[in-house]
């Protein structure tokens, strides 16, 4: 029964994708200006091959992925550390939680030029921007996770004689894990989006930069090829994040 449901759902999902590609294919058969903005799928496919063989793909991808990884590491470490430290005291949470959520509500995109000013046009500005943006959801979720640990479990562990370290390891950590993980996941996607977005705005290298350049030069087949690569990269990073998450949740 359930297996059948799953099959139906998968079929519909694949069907939607096939329909989209079909529509794309048919649309490009018609002439007119549309062809200018929407190259035929096979042209895009050919361009993807060209980019992969010429080494441009790997050059751009390595810049982008290493920026994302660096930015995310900084955001995760800083976000968890700051969130945890603030959550230790109700006063600190009352003081700083609204500040953090207020800052997160501001579209940081508007500050991107400042990052370029401070960190230069190279990858560093994208790393700093991605790290800053991803820091907020991670810190905010960590605060929520650690300050909402049920008092009952804290009292019980104290009555059983748990040391502070044991209380942290066996009560706070497992209790706070799910919400902290949610923050890490949100932060991860914000990080990818910020780095790529930053690259399209101002950069010398990276997938975002290559995509923007193709658009400026009206090389539409190349533009779509880069977009296809970004989609593939996101799907793969998504799967990776999911695998890491399932593993840490099982522990």
């Amino acid at each position: 029964m359930i297996a059948q449901d799953k099959l139906v759902i998968r079929t519909i999902q694949v069907g939607v994708l096939v329909a989209l590609f079909g529509a794309w294919f048919i649309a490009t058969r018609a002439g007119g200006t549309l062809k200018l903005f929407l190259p035929a799928p096979e042209l895009v496919w050919r361009e993807m091959g060209v980019l992969a063989r010429s080494g441009q793909l790997w050059a751009s991808l390595s810049v982008t992925i290493s920026s994302i990884v660096k930015a995310y590491m900084i955001a995760a470490v800083a976000g968890i550390a700051v969130g945890f430290v603030l959550a230790r005291s109700r006063t600190l949470v009352r003081l700083f939680e609204p500040v953090l959520s207020g800052m997160f509500a501001v579209p940081l995109t508007m500050f991107f030029p400042l990052f370029v000013l401070f960190f230069g046009i190279g990858p560093d500005s994208k790393v700093a921007y991605g790290a800053t943006y991803a820091f907020f959801p991670i810190a905010l979720n960590t605060i929520a996770a650690f300050s909402n640990v049920d008092d009952l479990y804290l009292r019980a562990s104290r009555a059983m004689g748990a040391s502070s370290w044991q209380q942290f390891r066996y009560v706070y950590m497992p209790a706070a894990l799910p919400v902290t993980l949610t923050g890490l996941r949100i932060g991860f996607f914000i990080c990818i989006a910020s780095v790529l977005g930053g690259e399209t705005l101002a950069a010398t290298a990276g997938v975002g930069r290559a995509t923007a350049l193709a658009a400026e030069l009206m090389e539409t087949a190349r533009l779509y090829a880069w977009i296809a690569f970004v989609v593939c990269m996101s799907v793969m990073l998504n799967l990776l994040a999911l695998a890491v998450e399932t593993r840490s949740e099982r522990e």
Partner: protein, 260 residues
């Protein structure tokens, strides 16, 4: 015990001039209207809460912080940690106490068997019913092997039948081990059935109103509940409590009217 609150209007004197001697191996039930300070008293005895005046000594030593080696505390709700299995919960209790050793698993299984829960050792708490969880919670309290057990309405969340069965189990288990027990309850029958002595408390601020002995050997069979002796003590308790409960309700009404 005097809770200062944020200002004078929030100040609560929860306990006032409570004096209580509990013998080694005695099973004492604390009975009193809700809000009279039973939990507060238990927390002070367990070193979970520092009293504002007076002293508590257990085994001749004043209590100022939790002493897991001597005192085990069982809460009203199950405090099994939901992210660990039943067995891991036992292990953790021993680890926290600093008495985890090679034989921990056998001892844990023994305690689980004693309450008929051995087949649930590798279940997670959320897979168990409220009654099962509290049963295991109790077994964990017994497993750590401290001499003194403080139980704060451990059966309050359970239905009447489960309560009775668990009460009998507890009576049998404890008769074997000679532990010293302080058991908070608001059920008259539970108090009479379990206790060697019932301490009736007054409405807030809680004082000791009366102390009633139940001269019946442990373990007690359910038949004890059908005896005249049982009914007489129960009636006596009811008489003692009724006034205090009236007073509590009156005080609540007054507080409500004052607010309106």
């Amino acid at each position: 015990m005097d809770f200062p609150g944020r200002d004078a209007s929030q100040r609560v004197i929860a306990l006032d001039d409570v004096s209580l001697d509990i013998r080694k191996g005695e099973f004492v039930c604390l009975l009193g209207p809700s809000g009279c300070g039973k939990s507060t008293l238990l927390n002070i005895i367990g070193g979970m809460l520092e009293q504002t005046s007076g002293t508590v000594t257990v085994n001749g030593t004043p209590v100022s912080s939790p002493r897991p080696n001597e005192i085990a505390y069982v809460f009203q709700e199950s405090t099994l940690f939901p992210w660990f299995t039943v067995l891991e919960n036992f292990r953790l209790a021993l680890k926290f106490r600093g008495t985890e050793d090679a034989g921990w698993r056998d001892r844990a299984m023994q305690s689980l068997t004693a309450v008929g829960m051995e087949q649930f050792a590798s279940h997670y708490p959320k897979q168990l019913s409220v009654g099962m969880k509290q049963r295991i919670n109790l077994a964990r309290g017994i497993c750590v092997g401290s001499e003194v057990m403080l139980l704060d309405e451990p059966f309050a969340a359970l239905d009447e039948q489960t309560r009775m069965v668990l009460g009998e189990d507890l009576s049998i288990l404890l008769a074997r081990r000679g532990k010293t027990i302080v058991f908070v309850t608001h059920s008259l029958a539970e108090a009479v059935f379990l206790a060697d002595r019932i301490v009736v408390m007054t409405a807030r601020p809680g004082k000791v109103k009366a102390s009633i002995e139940v001269p019946e050997a442990h373990p007690r069979s359910p038949d004890f509940m059908l005896t005249d002796a049982f009914q007489d003590i129960r009636k006596e308790l009811y008489g003692l409590l009724r006034d205090e409960i009236r007073q509590t309700v009156a005080a609540m009404r007054q507080a409500r009217d004052a607010q309106a």
